[in-house]
């Protein structure tokens, strides 16, 4: 009962942003982790371990609830090839959240838990009349995963865990302008994803008080929209109207698999250092295809090349317990972009990222408060029209993108 009401309370807030990991992946699950550059695979910090490494959950001593919310503030600038006018996003704020609750006997080897988080998402609203308007004007991609989890400590040093990942909610809203000979029309694609299952499994090994190692695998889930709505507007000429009659679309977006290894080092009782390396299998994202129920300007489908490549992420972070109540954190991330040169699209104006994070927690006995802040610099990226022509990707725009993102997070913990 408690879970359900918590879930419902949370779902109203759920949304993700492309701004916090390569592609449209979002790794903002735990507030403590956020403050430490997002490390967590080799650590057992709190209930958010369900996301980072379910195998570590059994090693989290406290049973309890962790709920966190983030505000992400993206600042994107774009200048079209040959131009000099800087375009900026209309709206830049999203609020991804995470909720994790774990239960089990106080001295037992089991932990059971449930996690709710938003591992993929993107929301961008481009400036009115910007040069790339026929590729994209607005995108809002949301996903909510619900993950019931079991973790078991085989020995004091070794634990395993797995969660059933349910794509409980997925939605896409994608809008673009349609180029007509003498004007622009507009199309909105809006759909909900089918419920799908995947898994999240991990192993956690802590050979000594000073060292821990974790391995985690999160499987791919194909977010599939079967019966989305197509809405055309602004197509006024009776010559063009008959060419834009579709009302339904179908599309599939891969929510890709990730394999991670993490290390934790505890040189003293108060200091914890984590290092994670992750491989995201973005190469599963080859094309973005929409199938329509009727012809759209002469075709019943549209296809656009993505050709993403697998990408590595390296995270380093640490926390230091200053007083019995206060813990401070810092970290950094280097995140390879899955998007190859000449394949950048306005949905994910992506490049390699370098991030710095800060965080702190204060605990009042059973209650704890976490805050985190991140600054993510996405490297400037330029693609020319020649790049696009060579790659067969002229459906997007040539120019230079640069994005910076600030993420502020607040988390609350309660231990039973």
């Amino acid at each position: 009962m408690k879970f359900k009401s918590l879930l419902l309370a949370g779902s109203a807030l759920l949304t993700g942003t492309a701004a916090s990991a390569g592609g449209y992946q979002v790794t903002l699950a735990g507030q403590k982790n956020n403050g430490m550059g997002g490390v967590g695979v080799g650590l057992s910090l709190d209930q958010a371990a369900m996301f980072y490494n379910p195998g570590a959950l059994a090693m989290v001593k406290e049973r309890g609830v962790h709920i966190g919310a983030n505000g992400t503030f993206a600042r994107n600038s774009f200048v079209a090839a040959g131009g000099n006018q800087q375009r900026e996003l209309r709206n830049t704020v999203t609020t991804p959240i995470g909720l994790f609750a774990a239960f089990g006997p106080s001295e037992g080897k089991f932990r059971a838990g449930i996690g709710v988080y938003t591992p993929f998402g993107s929301k961008l609203q481009y400036a009115d009349g910007w040069e790339g308007r026929t590729s994209l004007t607005d995108i809002d991609l949301k996903s909510v995963f619900v993950q019931p989890t079991l973790s078991y400590a085989i020995t004091d040093q070794l634990s395993v865990g797995a969660g059933l990942v349910i794509l409980a909610h997925g939605s896409v809203n994608l809008q673009r302008d349609i180029p007509l000979p003498d004007s622009f029309g507009h199309v909105e694609l809006d759909g909900k994803a089918e419920t799908k299952l995947g898994f999240n499994a991990g192993v956690f090994f802590k050979p000594s008080d000073k060292l821990s190692i974790g391995i985690n695998y999160r499987s791919k889930i194909d977010a599939e929209v079967k019966d989305g709505d197509v809405t055309f507007s602004g197509i006024n000429s009776p010559v063009f109207q008959p060419r834009f009659q579709a009302t339904k679309f179908a599309a599939t977006l891969p929510l890709i698999a990730t394999t991670s290894i993490g290390f934790g080092v505890m040189p003293t009782e108060n200091l914890t250092i984590g290092f994670d390396a992750s491989l995201a299998n973005w190469s599963a994202y080859k094309t973005l295809r929409f199938d329509f129920d009727q012809q759209v300007n002469g075709s019943t489908f549209s296809e656009s090349r993505r050709e993403y490549q697998d990408a590595l992420t390296f995270r380093l972070g640490g926390q230091y317990k200053l007083t019995s109540g206060l813990t401070v954190r810092a970290g950094g991330v280097y995140d390879e972009s899955p998007v190859k040169d000449g394949f950048v699209t306005p949905e994910t104006p992506d490049n390699d990222r370098l991030s710095g994070t800060l965080g702190a927690s204060y605990s009042f006995g059973k209650f704890g408060v976490d805050i985190s802040g991140q600054y993510i610099g996405i490297k400037k990226r330029t693609q020319t029209q020649d790049d696009l022509i060579n790659n067969g990707t002229t459906d997007r725009i040539a120019g230079t993108y640069k994005t910076n993102v600030v993420v502020a997070g607040l988390g609350l913990n309660y231990s039973f």
Partner: protein, 481 residues
Amino acid sequence: MNTSNLFRKAAPLAVLAGLGLTACQPDLEKDFSPSNGSADFSNYIAVGNSLTAGYSDGGLYLEGQQQSYPALLAQQFKNVGGGEFVQPLFTAGQENGSGYLRLAGFTAAGNPITANVTTNLAVRGGTAAKPLYTKFVGSVNNLGVPGIRLSDVETAGYGSVQGNPFFERITPDAQATQTYLARVAASSPTFFTNWLGNNDVLGYATAGGGASFLTTTADFTAKNAKIVDALTANGAKGVVATIPDVTNIPFFTTIGPSFRATLAAANVPSAAPFVYTTGTLAPGQPNVRTTSTLAAIRDASGTGALLLTLTASPYLALYGQPSGKYWRDFYAQARPTLPATVPNLSVFLAAMQIDTTKAFGQSTGNPFPSILVLDAAEQTLVRNATNNFNIAIKAKATEKGLGVFDANTFFAQVATNGIVTNGVNNTAGYISGNLFSLDGVHPTPRGYAIIANEFIKVINNTYGAKVPTVNANDYRGVKFP
């Protein structure tokens, strides 16, 4: 410790985050700040013909003038020290200028129907065949004159009421004998674009080789040199443009393929006869009849040598029928200039050796007229002239160290591959392609914007400038009803 203590500790972080929010908007504009390089844009002069004037849809009217490529260039030059740029704009109330074609709709078969815009014209007198337009007195930066050939630039009286009405319009009455070359020489530019010479091939080509003439290479070379010398006399920098191969434009590429497709759909075999005349079409001229087949007309796949002009469109449905419609229309048009020995239609038909009871386009007695057909020999003449003219243009530009916009190469690529502008596909196709206006020869505002961007690329490369380009998609293709 209590909560207020916590928030004291958290406050610096919150402040830090707050600073990040306001400070993190990336500034790309500084990377792309415009500069004039070694060029001085304070007095930009545009020299050319209808393409430079902003002619579109078979006419010169205000909207086309406002979106001419020189107007767009001048607008972009404002970022880098460009001065005022005066165009001989038609005024409100006379905004339709010479009149132009509009798209009125489509036939049931999907063929476009065009109509003439005849209201709010800037006509002050003259005759229907040769109107005179409302004068624009004062200095002008856009010296684009529709219809002018390079061979015309030293013709005295070209700006008089007997001359070119578009040049007459901007020529002060007191200087009616001023040649175009003298007008250009008096413009004292600091920067110029020069795109003359298209009409030295175009007039002959659009008449299917059946009227007008090709300028000789010697005449072209000499007059091109004089114009460029006049423009550079005071050390001005500039860009010249080559002449595109006109056989790539929709005027020649639209009708043949649709005619072939229509006949194929009606199960007319491609081996059916197609008879046409070659050479100048006039009474007393030896109009040689060539008997070929429909297969000789270029189809959508590019097979076949014969190009049909856009102006052939009204007569194609008469193929194979006993019809004199073309000859009656031709007679009506030619009548004012016909000699007294040709007093009426029947004498005219006899002089032309036409029998309108024979099947039009199928019989040697009633051939398809050469004015509507550009055959292989004529195409070769046009192509050779274009190549020779372009050699002269490039050589003179090299001599003066000017930039060259190779419009011939550019439009050949557009004809083959189209051109994508910020994610929008454009092709050289008629109406659907966005680039060419309803006359099939002159660009739309979109086409002119793309031309302006190509000029800008050459300017930036030649003079180390950073003139920003325009977003071509902000400019329309063909206007639909």
